[in-house]
């Protein structure tokens, strides 16, 4: 995201556009990436309820993946998944394609 100069932003650190947190890509904080084993997933939506960043992507009532632009890698989905379908993988290993 392009950073703005001091003349272009609201004063006092105020956020005046409701819902603009989507522009803040918390995915850059992640060192561990959640990977869902679709074979094991029962689409119970527990991870969807618990994810603090609303990063579990769902379509037609089925989990289809992770929003990696916003997932901060906290691992809550891994901890809460009753089917042990989520594993946290080192980002560096993912990037190297291991």
């Amino acid at each position: 995201m392009e950073l703005k100069g001091w003349r272009e932003i609201p004063i006092g650190g105020l956020i005046i556009d409701a819902g603009n947190s989507v522009n803040y890509e918390t995915g850059s904080w992640r060192s561990l990436r959640p990977v869902i084993d679709m074979e094991r997933c029962s689409h119970c939506m527990i991870c969807w309820i618990y994810c603090p960043d609303s990063s579990i992507l769902v379509e037609n009532e089925k989990v289809i993946g992770i929003d990696l632009a916003h997932c901060k890698g906290c691992g809550i989905c891994e901890r809460e998944c009753p089917r042990k379908a989520v594993s946290m993988v080192e980002e560096t290993l993912v990037e190297e394609g291991v």
Partner: protein, 397 residues
């Protein structure tokens, strides 16, 4: 606005400020009693109890809570005010920065008191000068009349769309706070009209335009928000005299950022703020009668500091004494001195300047001491030697 007739009364500084607050009728006043400010909130709480104001008065458990309540009230779109002194200001410390950083036009009536220890409740400027970097506009009152006038103007300065900064005006504890002086009060209606209705830019209670106050602000934007505060202070240099001019048309009492007294053709000058300005005027008159070319520069607005004007007013003087009523221990001088020297130097002037610390912990500053300052300036000018830069007025050796 046409000039209106004021009502002459005799009040002490605290009561004069309380009267101004009654006439301004703020939405919220949150305060905690502390000498020598107590009489302001004590009197104001009587107005609340008698139904003379519509203010929500919050008798908080501490000054930290007082300033926090003002922050909340102001973010919610209300006009919020408080009053404090010395240790009370110290207890507000972190919230002073929250108020300015969040750009909330809170007004504070500040009755100067020294910082302990040793324990002392009397006047010096350690408190407000200590908060000079907190991002608040700071005005200093010379008289009880000015305490009243500056209290009212503070609201307009703080809320001006080009400024949007919390503003305090400081009156010397006891010397102005507790002494009776004659002053003129405006009619209630004139004050009401002068301050108008506060229309907040953003309000937490505006459900049609929701806004988030106080979010996390990291390395990527924090600096830009600080830069905005610097710009707001620069704009306040324009706004303070504008409001002072408008107030002058209403009352006949005009206010600027600073005021020269017999300064134009002076060769020897002092720079003073607060009630000691009055004492210095008397000495200047006396010396003028004796043929000494003495002058005085009174600083009304310390934050923002009117550097260019100060440099222009003082650049041609032969010797200058800056009077500080607070200490910066281990420094090369004290708050007002730093400002004056930097203003002169950065505008290409280098007259002889010395710094006097005076009146700490309520020590009386009498004409004889000010006379001594001018006599030392005469000596500096005559001998062409500045001598020690840092000097102490009225302390026993």
């Amino acid at each position: 606005m046409a000039k209106v007739m004021g009502k002459p009364v005799a009040l002490n500084g605290d009561r004069a400020v309380a009267e101004a607050m009654r006439q301004m009728n703020p939405d919220v006043v949150a305060a905690y009693p502390i000498t020598p400010q107590t009489e302001i909130v004590m009197r104001f709480s009587e107005f609340v109890a008698n139904g003379e104001v519509d203010t929500e008065f919050i008798p908080v458990e501490s000054e930290h809570a007082a300033m926090s309540a003002c922050v909340g009230a102001c973010a919610a779109g209300g006009r919020a005010q408080t009053a404090t002194s010395g240790a009370g200001l110290a207890f507000m410390w972190e919230v002073l920065w929250v108020a300015s950083g969040t750009r909330l036009p809170i007004v504070m009536h500040m009755v100067n008191r020294s910082f302990s220890a040793p324990l002392n409740i009397l006047c010096d400027h350690s408190d407000s000068m200590g908060a000079r970097d907190a991002g608040w506009v700071q005005l200093y009152d010379e008289t009880v009349q000015e305490a009243y006038d500056n209290a009212i103007q503070s609201v307009r300065i703080a809320e001006h769309p080009d400024v949007m900064l919390p503003t305090l005006h400081a009156l010397d504890g006891f010397i102005l706070g507790h002494n009776l002086e004659r002053l003129e009060l405006l009619p209630d209606e004139a004050v009401k009209q002068f301050i108008g209705t506060y229309k907040p830019m953003y309000s937490l209670l505006d459900l049609d335009r929701p806004v988030t106050y106080g979010p996390m602000d990291y390395h990527d934007y924090f600096f830009e928000h600080k830069r905005q505060q610097v710009a707001a202070m620069e704009r306040a240099l324009e706004v303070v005299p504008l409001i002072g001019e408008e107030y002058g048309r209403l009352t006949g009492r005009y206010y600027g950022l600073m005021e020269g007294y017999r300064l134009e053709d002076a060769e020897l000058a002092t720079v003073v703020l607060g009630s000691t300005v009055g004492t210095t005027r008397v000495v200047v008159d006396e010396l003028r009668d004796q043929g000494v070319k003495a002058g005085l520069l009174k600083i009304r607005c310390f934050r923002p500091f009117p550097a260019a004007m100060v440099a222009e007013a003082l650049g041609d003087k032969k010797a200058i004494a800056v009077l500080d009523r607070s200490l910066s221990f281990g420094g090369q001088g004290n708050p007002l001195f730093f400002e004056v020297c930097t203003a002169l130097f950065s505008h290409g002037f280098s007259p002889k300047v010395v710094n006097y610390v005076y009146g700490l912990g309520g020590r009386d500053t009498v004409p004889a001491q000010i006379r001594q300052v001018y006599h030392e300036l005469i000596k500096i000018d005559r001998e062409g030697v500045t001598g020690p830069t840092l000097r102490y007025l009225g302390v026993r050796e």
